[in-house]
């Protein structure tokens, strides 16, 4: 249906579009990096220069960072970027953008591979899936910033793609490649540690016969996965590996638990033990929370309306998917199950059902960050629905076809334009706060003022500013580790972190005002009114952000 030459042209166009959307103003929009990105940037630079992270650990498999024990892959990928470009915002976000474009490329081949049996239409599915992913607000947001979660799409798509290619060509090499992709994903993002095994298990079930018949080819794959997974498995048994889970899991929250069990207690008081035990068992209390956490990620409002938490709500009034994707998502599922070969349906459904699992046991649901592993399954399903729905219109209402296609084209173009308008014009101004806008300027200004002061105290209220200052001042990691002693801890209230003249602790003006020659940097409104403010910085919407003040010399 589509000639080879046309395919190449369209494919290149989609990839170019994906690249443009991700690289344009990369590092500048969003305006400023957030604290995770600064942490990634600094730790990568530290590895580059010394082979050790900010705590002095040599080539760690887990980065303690802000006491959130980050997975290592993204940081290591940032190392070469910083080697070439230096420690800049662009360098920190570059791996994400590259893997984002890579995900678009792989999605083309993946969709085409999954629907290979449909011959002509397979290429169409590939092109559309790649296109929808290229313009996807969800994917764009996470591949223009250094959120590890965005890169999951690249590895999942790659892992699945080479698995299917391997099945088709019956060569062990592809399976091994697939194993590498899946194995690496385990080191990319926390949720992957649950998601990837679930996905692999589904693959194993659905393609059991093919695997059984070609066991020889799978041995290298199994081995590679095993080898790659081993350190991750080991880590899960250590406290460091578990810290993040313990910090966010729903099983730790006694308040939720008590609310669910209030009826159980009431029954106990009524001496109705049977009801208390049978009708309000504790396990149902947790089960209810977990199930609700799970299904909150399959709710229409989660996908299509904005408002998924302040950190992610950069572009207001826009959801994770475009509204026009909704009917095609639903019809895509319908047509998938109508098709003769149900395996794509099972695979994509299993993918969709597995994606919310890691997030369902956490607090703070629904979370679009933790469930970005959905991508690009939703785009592939949507593309399938789009093509089949259009075919249905063509078959049953041929007179409407031109209107339908034109209308669809208009809606898609308009939504993309609207999204870009919101993203580039309104969002930076409205939400510069969550991107810590201005910190670079503040840090550099403080460096210029540094010779005049004995100490510079940066308040913790700036949200863990240690990494920001190390990053923007391009401090030398070797000096940091050997002379300054590295980071003490990443806790919110930590007051012992410091380097050179800079100290990072809570600011208490009463204590500080008597000490001479101190420059204090804290959030606006944090100091008593009488204190003379040297300089006030502002967010892009005009609100004051940070202030500098000094004690008498």
């Amino acid at each position: 249906m589509i000639s080879r030459k046309l395919t190449i042209i369209l494919f290149s166009a989609v990839v170019l579009l994906a690249a443009v959307l991700r690289f344009y103003d990369l590092g500048k929009n969003p305006p400023g990096i957030n604290l995770d990105e600064a942490a990634i940037g600094w730790n990568a630079y530290s590895i580059l220069k010394t082979g050790r992270d900010e705590y002095g650990q040599f080539l760690p498999l887990v980065f303690r960072s802000l006491d959130d024990y980050k997975p290592p892959l993204y940081i290591y990928l940032t190392v070469p970027a910083e080697a070439v470009l230096g420690m800049t915002e662009f360098a920190v976000r570059l791996p994400s953008a590259i893997l984002g474009v890579g995900a678009v490329v792989l999605t083309f081949f993946l969709a085409r591979e999954i629907f290979r049996e449909e011959r002509d239409r397979a290429t169409l599915f590939g092109l559309l899936s790649a296109f929808i992913l290229a313009i996807s607000p969800w994917h764009l947001h996470f591949t223009r910033t250094a959120y590890e979660t965005g890169s999951c799409a690249f590895f999942t798509a790659g892992g699945l793609l080479f698995f299917f290619v391997g099945l088709r060509k019956k060569r062990w090499f592809f399976f091994a490649l697939s194993a590498v992709f899946f194995g690496l994903e385990l080191y990319l993002y926390q949720a992957a540690k649950v998601f990837v095994p679930l996905l692999l298990f589904s693959l194993f079930c659905f393609y059991f016969r093919e695997i059984k018949n070609n066991l020889r080819l799978f041995i290298p794959q199994a081995l590679i996965i095993f080898v790659l997974a081993l350190p991750v498995l080991y880590q899960s048994t250590t406290l460091a590996g578990q810290m993040r889970f313990l910090g966010t899991s729903v099983f730790q929250d006694p308040k939720l638990h008590n609310i669910n069990l209030s009826y159980q207690r009431d029954d106990w008081f009524r001496r109705d033990r049977i009801s208390a035990a049978v009708l309000h068992p504790e396990v149902l209390s947790y089960a209810s929370d977990v199930l609700w956490g799970y299904f909150s990620h399959l709710s229409p409002n989660f996908f299509f309306s904005g408002g998924n938490g302040s950190k992610v709500d950069y572009v207001s009034n826009m959801g994770l998917l475009y509204y026009w994707e909704m009917p095609f998502l639903l019809s895509g599922l319908f047509y998938l199950y109508k098709a003769k070969n149900k395996k794509p349906a099972w695979l994509l459904t299993a993918w969709m059902l597995a994606a919310p699992v890691p997030a369902s046991v956490t607090i703070g649901v629904p979370s679009s960050i933790r469930t970005a592993v959905f991508l690009p399954s939703l785009q592939i399903i949507g593309a399938y629905g789009l093509v089949n729905f259009t075919a249905m219109v063509k078959k049953n209402y041929p007179r409407f076809l031109p209107v339908f296609v034109a209308g669809l084209f208009g809606v898609v173009t308009f939504s993309l334009y609207f999204y870009l308008h919101m993203y580039y014009i309104h969002a930076p101004r409205q939400n510069s706060k969550i991107w810590y806008y201005g910190y670079r300027q503040i840090a550099e200004d403080s460096a210029k003022l540094a010779p005049k002061y004995n100490k510079i105290i940066v308040s913790n209220t700036l949200d863990q500013p240690l990494n920001f200052w190390l990053f923007f001042l391009k401090y030398d990691p070797k000096t940091y580790l050997t002379v300054d002693g590295g980071t003490i801890s990443g806790g919110f209230k930590e007051d012992r972190n410091h380097f050179s003249k800079y100290y990072f602790k809570p600011v208490s003006w009463d204590e500080l005002k008597s000490q001479p020659g101190i420059l204090v940097i804290t959030v606006a409104g944090d100091l008593p009114k009488e204190v003379p403010v040297l300089k006030t910085y502002h967010y892009l919407d005009g609100r004051p952000s940070v202030i500098m003040a000094a004690t008498n010399p």
Binding site: S275, L279, W292, S299, P300, N301, F304, N317
Partner: protein, 508 residues
């Protein structure tokens, strides 16, 4: 009808009746202000032919300024003729409507099934329809609103009957068409949501069946004309000041933020899994809040049913899904969404689709799975019943303004001993009006002045009230914590179910 079918249907109806009538006046605990307003306006109509404001046989009841639609009130008036102004008279119409809805859903489901398969095996049709009726009978969503005086429930019954008769008219006997129209028109006079829902639904039905309808032009046109004539008053009133009053206070046009975004969020909220399957409507009167509007085990069958129904490509699918999508609109254009009451119409297509999913399942899957799932369903139902009868009246007594009724009844029993009774505004006047009951003629004569109702005098009680006749004893009725605890004369404390104090009564 075969005997076994009759028996099965009888059992389902009995179940529906028990679930709706058992302890209907105790749980929900106490009538809430809208129910009391309905009750009193009905009493006023019964005794004087005018509503509480003195309007003669109105088409819209001004009440609290929310301009209630008339059908439920007139129906309650008829019940009060036999039962007097009591809680039962106000709630019984809704319960009976709920039971009739279950019957209606059985026949409606039959028609839907015949649309999917013209020459269907009668046993299959009946089994499917029984499942629909059973699901509706045991639906927590439907039960919640059948047990209190909610006009929406009565309106739903009319829509079910109207749709059933419409489809039956086309399949069996066209003479049912006018009857169908009467039910639809009546529903427009029963609840606000129907005014938004019914016209588009009728349009869909017309478009689907226009060929059949136009083959019988005389009866069709006659029905249309008469319906328009009958519906004209309410449609005209909808666009009047009073008709729009409710819309103005509740609609999203008054909300902050862009209207279109709010509409979209509100509309989609009606399909959120949390609302449907986990926690339901968070208004304490609309659900027990620990179970969704539908049972959790219905989720996979809803998906299965949707797929199966779509696959059949029949007019039934168009009707059912149009109904579902249109039913979410009334609550989407109001500020509170999801709204189980304004969206009550959604319960029927949900049960039809789930039943279809179940019917496919019952045919294909192994017995052990059926028994397992059946046990889960029964277990969840038992949890619901336990919560509804044991915990709900206690935990949500305040949402039903429990305590106001008991206070009013207590005062009625003791009022002869006292000269004057001073009442704090927290005791809503309608409760006194309805439970004394206060003579509607007197209220009309006083031009709806609620500050003095016979010997009841409203007083903000910041200062001690002055007795008209200082020789006689008087009562003071206050909510808790207004009067300091050491003040003497407290003769009674009225508590809500569950023990929270509602009002204190002092003698002086």
């Amino acid at each position: 009808m075969k005997k076994s079918l009759l028996l099965a249907l009888g059992v389902v109806l009995l179940l529906a009746a028990i679930l709706r009538l058992f302890k209907i006046t105790d749980d929900p605990p106490g009538l809430y202000p809208d129910e009391v307003a309905i009750g009193y306006n009905a009493y006023s109509i019964l005794k004087t032919g005018r509503d509480e404001w003195g309007n003669s046989y109105p088409l819209l009841f001004r009440s609290y300024g929310d301009y209630k639609l008339p059908v439920y009130i007139y129906l309650t008036a008829a019940f009060e003729d036999f039962l007097g102004p009591t809680d039962l008279a106000v709630r019984l119409p809704s319960a009976l409507a709920g039971i009739i809805a279950v019957v209606g859903s059985f026949f409606l489901a039959q028609e839907i099934f015949f649309l999917i398969k013209r020459e269907a095996d009668p046993r299959a049709v009946n089994l499917y329809s029984l499942i629909v009726a059973l699901l509706l009978a045991t639906s927590s969503w439907h039960i919640q609103f059948s047990r209190a005086g909610f006009e929406a429930n009565l309106a739903l019954t009319f829509v079910i009957l109207g749709t059933w008769l419409f489809l039956s008219a086309l399949r069996n006997n066209i003479r049912f068409l006018p009857l169908s129209a009467i039910f639809f028109v009546t529903s427009l006079y029963t609840y606000h949501s129907e005014r938004i829902f019914v016209p588009p639904l009728l349009l869909v039905l017309f478009l689907l069946f226009r060929k059949t309808l136009l083959k019988r032009p005389k009866i069709f046109v006659a029905t249309c004309l008469v319906s328009l004539l009958l519906a004209a008053p309410i449609l005209a009133l909808t666009f009047s000041g009073e008709g729009l009053a409710r819309l103005k206070t509740e609609s999203i046009f008054n909300e902050s933020g862009p209207v279109w975004e709010n509409f979209q969020t509100n509309y989609l909220a009606n399909f959120s899994p949390d609302y449907l399957f986990f926690h339901g409507d968070q208004n304490g009167r609309h659900s027990v809040k620990k179970i969704g509007e539908l049972y959790l085990w219905q989720l996979p069958f809803f998906l299965l049913g949707t797929y199966a129904l779509l696959n059949k490509r029949s007019k039934a699918g168009v009707i059912v899904f149009s109904w579902l999508l249109l039913a979410a609109v009334p609550s989407a254009i109001t500020r509170v969404s999801p709204h189980a009451l304004r969206g009550l119409l959604m319960v029927l297509p949900f049960e039809i689709i789930c039943a279809f999913g179940l019917w496919v399942f019952v045919a294909k899957f192994p017995k052990w799975l059926i028994i397992g799932l059946g046990s889960l369903a029964v277990y969840e139902f038992l949890i619901y019943l336990h919560i509804y009868y044991v915990h709900y009246p206690v935990a949500y007594a305040a949402d039903w303004e429990a305590g106001q009724e008991q206070t009013a009844l207590y005062l009625r029993s003791r009022e002869d001993h006292y000269g004057q009774i001073f009442v704090h505004p927290n005791l809503s006047p309608v409760y006194l009006l309805f439970y004394l009951p206060y003579d509607p003629r007197a209220l009309q004569a006083a031009n709806h002045d609620l500050s003095t109702l016979g010997k009841y005098q409203y007083h903000n009680l910041y200062t001690q009230p002055v007795k008209a006749d200082s020789a006689k004893k008087s009562l003071i009725v206050v909510p808790p914590n207004i009067i300091s605890a050491d003040r003497p004369g407290k003769i009674r404390e009225i508590k809500m179910t569950g023990g929270n104090p509602a009002f204190e009564i002092y003698e002086f």
